[in-house]
């Protein structure tokens, strides 16, 4: 009996105390540096699986050649639940890094020099970000609910970059994704992803003077990515319907706001523009065949011609499980591709020489996606 009581009291003591968990520190990996001119490095955003609150931020520094994984949490220990749930987009504007955290329903504003939190802007179901003059524009799925909850338009929020306040909103199409600014117009790719099989197939044209949608351009179902080139054209990708309609890429002219070219053989999951070269990869899924198909291409945005179907030349792409992000350093022309692997384990970022040969790779957080280059070294 005494023994039992002793055992019990021991358990009680044991049960009473538990150390709180530590903030997870960043992990450094030396991958080799280099000279990238006025580019000091890049931030990489890891989306993190939905509902896991595992959106994280990594940083690569050209001077030291060190890849630092998960830098936000340790620099901002006071931010409750770190960066949040599902980082969907990221951009640098001036001295600030803006992270659109989709399932946390907020935009996190970070100082690029220190990585410190500055402010957060609450926008439900926010998706993508772009800038013009002193304003940030954030697309959101969560427009006003009309009578039919299934037909709910999205909107774009206009944020003053100095006060960090939302000063206006503009209703656009269904489930708007990426945006691009040409002149005084904002182009918005509407997906309609919540309305399967009734996808949206329009690009909204928003006049930034009045901040109202002034036109809808019919393109193709399930629009997603958008890039504006130096020739006044907007490149927009369609994801198709995953059954009969494949993913394709379209070119819209900002002069007449009309589709001027269809690249029906250019499936596009993501793209990035560097000079006149549009780097495109596609990782497309078809429900009929239950297979996915991965392709790479460089398109000359001046001629609309595919220059090559292979920009990784050393066979490294065979190792990719799920290519998920792409970026090109405008100074060095190095190509960066991320692999999200199985989405539930850490991904990888690969750095290729302009000729497409692997220079280095590093482990990232879960679902590495966006890469943005910075001119400011991170302290």
């Amino acid at each position: 009996m005494k023994k039992i009581l002793f055992l019990l009291s021991l358990l009680l003591v044991l049960a009473a105390c538990r150390e709180p968990e530590e903030i997870i520190p960043s992990t450094q990996t030396g991958v080799g540096g280099g000279d990238a001119g006025d580019i000091a490095g890049f931030f990489l955003l890891n989306e993190g699986n939905m509902g896991s609150n595992k959106c994280t931020l990594d940083f690569y520094d050209y001077a030291s050649g060190i890849y630092s994984k998960n830098i936000f949490a340790e620099r901002n220990p006071e931010i409750v639940q770190e960066l949040g749930d599902v980082g969907n987009d990221m951009a640098i504007y001036g001295s600030r890094l803006w992270v659109v955290v989709n399932c946390s329903n907020l935009v996190e504003v970070i100082d690029v020099r220190t990585g410190w939190h500055i402010d957060q802007i609450s926008i439900p179901n926010c998706r993508s970000i772009t800038f013009k003059d002193q304003y940030a524009y954030v697309s959101s799925y969560a427009g006003p609910v009309e009578i039919d909850p299934n037909a709910r338009l999205g909107y774009v929020a206009k944020i003053d970059t100095s006060s960090l306040e939302i000063i206006d909103t503009c209703t656009v199409g269904y489930q708007p994704e990426e945006m691009a600014v040409v002149g005084d117009n904002l182009y918005v790719a509407n997906s309609g992803g919540y309305r399967v099989p009734n996808y949206d197939n329009t690009v909204s044209v928003v006049d930034l003077h009045i901040f109202r949608e002034v036109q809808k351009i019919d393109v193709a179902p399930n629009l997603h990515r958008m890039e504006a080139d130096a020739y006044g054209n907007i490149w927009v990708s369609s994801r198709g319907d995953y059954y009969d309609i494949p993913s394709m890429t379209f070119v819209i002219s900002s002069e007449n706001n009309a589709v001027i070219d269809v690249l029906d053989l250019l499936a596009c999951t993501d793209m990035t523009l560097c000079g006149d070269s549009l780097y495109v990869y596609s990782n497309t899924w078809n429900y009929f065949s239950q297979t996915s198909d991965v392709n790479y291409a460089i398109v000359d945005v001046k001629t609309h011609q595919v220059v090559t179907r292979k920009f990784i030349t050393d066979g490294t792409e065979q190792q990719f499980q799920n290519p998920y992000g792409i970026a090109v350093n405008p100074n060095t022309r190095e190509i960066f591709v991320t692999d999200a692997r199985d989405y539930v384990t850490p991904g990888k970022v690969y750095c290729f020489s302009p000729e497409g040969r692997l220079k280095w790779s590093a482990n990232t957080g879960d679902i590495p996606s966006r890469i943005v280059f910075t001119h400011t070294p991170l302290l």
């Binding site: 009996m1 039992i4 019990l8 358990l11 049960a15 538990r18 150390e19 709180p20 968990e21 530590e22 903030i23 997870i24 520190p25 989306e47 699986n49 509902g51 896991s52 609150n53 595992k54 220990p77 006071e78 931010i79 409750v80 639940q81 949040g84 749930d85 599902v86 955290v101 399932c103 946390s104 329903n105 907020l106 609450s122 439900p124 179901n125 969560a142 609910v145 909850p149 299934n150 709910r152 919540y194 399967v196 099989p197 995953y242 999951t269 990782n283 497309t284 899924w285 429900y287 239950q290 996915s292 799920n322 999200a340 692997r341 989405y343 539930v344 384990t345 850490p346 957080g365 679902i367």
Partner: protein, 656 residues
């Protein structure tokens, strides 16, 4: 001995001399056969856990992980020996609870209020005259509700309880047993549960943030009504049961970073489940037959409405499942020591959902089990062979998966080396599979009709030792120890198709599990105090062997701790009962990448309860106060799903 074995162990069949047996003997009936590793909580021991649902009781078994999304309404599923929750068959009064849609049984929905025993078998139940389904899962949980017992010539038993406590919980129930004529009885049980589901929880980081919030939208309203008939016939018995469950619950969702209090998380689910089942058992000399049937209808309505929570997508889906089932099991006793069993089951499932491009699948399953058992002086042997035939149909041409036909064996051996029979050694091998669920195969966008079944193989060796000490303070002691190796092949996992919102099901995983289950129990009496103790410990090394190229190859699979254990201690003094229970779940990882980012801290909770009974003539009153998680540990079982801190429960019951 064999005769008693047959009668005593047929869980689906009530013993035919039920009305003359004192209660203690009746509960002893359901002692599981020790040939296969089994653990049971029953009768008073089960009641004294003062737990709300079956899930809360099963946590005290070794080799078990309960995945718990927190609160009264949060999903609670059982994973036995790391093979996955869909490999666990859950049987209610002898007939399996089905969920052809996702293969998941939410144990939080099953109340302990009218439960007589909860038993977990690794491998399969090894009793006589059992249905083919009893052979058809890698492990099985048997929930046995109370069977009417009338003492001292009584004709009516009545019990009314009112429980309530933290999270605004109100939980009244009635239990009424009535003798009907000389050979039959009826039991009626109704229970209502309401809870706001609100509780305070905190997240704290060392030298970092410290936040406290309240879990919202976790309310539950549930009504359960059961009615059972029990009867005797010459050399046999029958029973018939009706079960109705109706509930509405909120989904609080994952607790992720957000502007506090801004979003309401208003997702809701409505469930209406009905089933009726019955069985008939009859003996003709050495030939015994048990026939049973079931019909079940499950309705689920899920609503996520952006008019209530601006951040969500509009989802308004209704799912209807139907299941029809029939089984005939027979046994022939060739000699006193040798018998053969043949069982055949047929099951038909349909699923109807208002989803885009839905294929409206239906499934026929035919199970045939041939088994034999041989009982020698020191050696017991059981062998069984199960044949499973599955055929799926879909309303849309070409949408259905093909037919499947598989043979799967089991072999069980028990050796009792000594005359005293205190010690026995046992071993079993079992190979079985689970079919891909209808969701795995046909869910719009996600399903993959080319999926193969997910196979498991189990190898187990163990020993049990039991002894009673009639003249000692230590009255009874027992130990059981099992070591095992399990393999899961063709594991069905969700894989991303091309982005976050598109997943598909594939046969990709391979898992190897090495484990050790240990349990010890003791009863003792010192002075006027009696005490009983139960201690369990589980070790599991459950590794992912899916992709040798992966840097995470060999990593511990998500949510499986290397070490876990439990302790239950009960003390009785006169009419007082004091019960203490402790659960420990060691460190584990939330993903197969065993890195700091995925690390989950150990958690351990202590529950304490005190109860007292009062007798006044034929009336009996009982009051219980339970305090759970007395040290207010803030923990998670599943990442982003906080569990409740200290909470209370007060139970008053009146028994006539």
């Amino acid at each position: 001995m064999i005769r008693s074995l047959v009668i005593l162990l047929a869980l689906a069949a009530p013993p035919d001399s039920i009305d003359v047996l004192p209660e203690s003997v009746v509960t002893a009936y359901r002692q599981p056969d020790k040939v296969i590793p089994a653990q049971t909580l029953q009768g008073e021991r089960l009641e004294r856990l003062n737990a709300l649902s079956v899930a809360d009781a099963i946590r005290y078994f070794s080799g078990v992980q309960i995945k718990d999304y927190g609160g009264v309404g949060g999903l609670k599923t059982i994973n036995v020996r790391s093979m996955g929750s869909q490999h666990v068959g859950v049987f209610y009064d002898g007939v399996q609870l089905g969920n052809a849609q996702n293969g998941q049984i939410d144990l939080g929905k099953y109340s302990l209020e009218n439960m007589e025993s909860v038993t977990l078998y690794n491998g399969q139940k090894g009793t006589a005259v059992q249905s083919a389904k009893d052979y058809a899962s890698a492990s099985a949980v048997y929930l046995q509700t109370r069977t009417p017992v009338f003492r001292n010539g009584r004709r009516t038993n009545l019990k009314a309880s009112l429980a309530g406590g933290s999270f605004g919980t109100v939980n009244p129930s009635v239990y009424w047993e009535q003798r009907v004529g000389a050979r039959a009885s009826n039991s009626f049980n109704a229970e209502y549960l309401y809870t706001t589901g609100r509780y305070r929880f905190s997240y704290r980081k060392k030298d970092g943030y410290d936040t406290t919030a309240v879990r919202q939208n976790g309310d539950v309203r549930a009504l359960r009504v059961e009615d059972g008939f029990f009867g005797r016939i010459p050399d046999g018995n029958w029973r018939l049961k009706f079960y109705f469950y109706d509930s509405e619950r909120g989904y609080p969702g994952a607790f992720v970073r957000e502007e506090p209090g801004k979003f309401r998380h208003e997702d809701r689910q409505w469930d209406t489940d009905f089933f009726t089942q019955g069985s008939l058992y009859k003996e003709w000399g050495d030939y015994h037959v048990n026939a049973s049937f079931k019909y079940a209808y499950d309705y689920l309505h899920y609503l996520s409405d952006p008019r209530l929570d601006v951040s969500t997508m509009y989802v308004d889906n209704r799912y209807r499942q139907q299941e029809a089932y029939a089984s005939v099991a027979q046994e022939y006793r060739i000699t006193r020591r040798w018998d053969v069993d043949l069982a055949a089951d047929y099951q038909f499932n349909t699923l109807d959902a208002d989803l885009v491009n839905f294929v409206y699948p239906s499934r026929h399953t035919v199970l045939t089990a041939l088994s034999t058992s041989l009982r020698l002086e020191k050696l017991k042997l059981q062998g069984s062979l199960l044949h499973t035939f599955v055929a799926d149909y879909a309303r849309q041409a070409g949408a259905a998966a093909g037919h499947r036909s598989h043979w799967t064996p089991t072999a069980v051996l028990q050796y009792t080396p000594f005359e005293s029979r205190n010690l026995s050694l046992r071993a079993f091998y079992k190979r079985i599979f689970r079919m891909p669920t209808l969701n795995d195969l046909y869910y719009t966008f996600i399903g993959n009709k080319y999926l193969k079944p997910e196979f498991t193989a189990q190898y187990n060796i163990g020993l049990t030792w039991d002894r009673t000490f009639p003249k000692s303070r230590l009255r009874k002691a027992g130990i059981s120890l099992d070591a095992y190796y399990n393999e899961v092949e063709n594991k069905i996992i969700a894989m991303p198709a091309s982005n976050q919102f598109q997943w598909t099901m594939v046969n990709l995983g391979r898992v190897g599990i090495r484990g050790l289950d240990a349990a010890a129990s003791a009863s003792m009496a010192v002075g006027g105090v009696t005490a009983d103790l139960r201690l369990t410990y589980t070790f599991q090394k459950a590794q992912d062997f899916t992709d040798p190229e992966s840097p995470w190859y060999g990593g511990q699979i998500p949510y499986i701790p290397w070490h876990s254990g439990s302790l239950i201690a009960g003390f009785q003094w006169k009419a007082w009962h004091l019960d203490y229970s402790f659960l420990y779940t060691g460190e584990r990882y939330e993903a197969v990448a065993n890195i700091p980012e995925n690390h989950a801290q150990p958690w351990y909770t202590s529950d304490l309860s005190l109860s007292r009974g009062f007798k006044a003539g034929a009336h009996e009153l009982k009051g219980t106060l339970a305090v759970n998680n007395i040290f207010n540990q803030q923990y998670e079982v599943v990442k982003c799903y906080p569990m409740p801190g200290t909470n209370f429960r007060l139970i008053l019951s009146w028994i006539l």
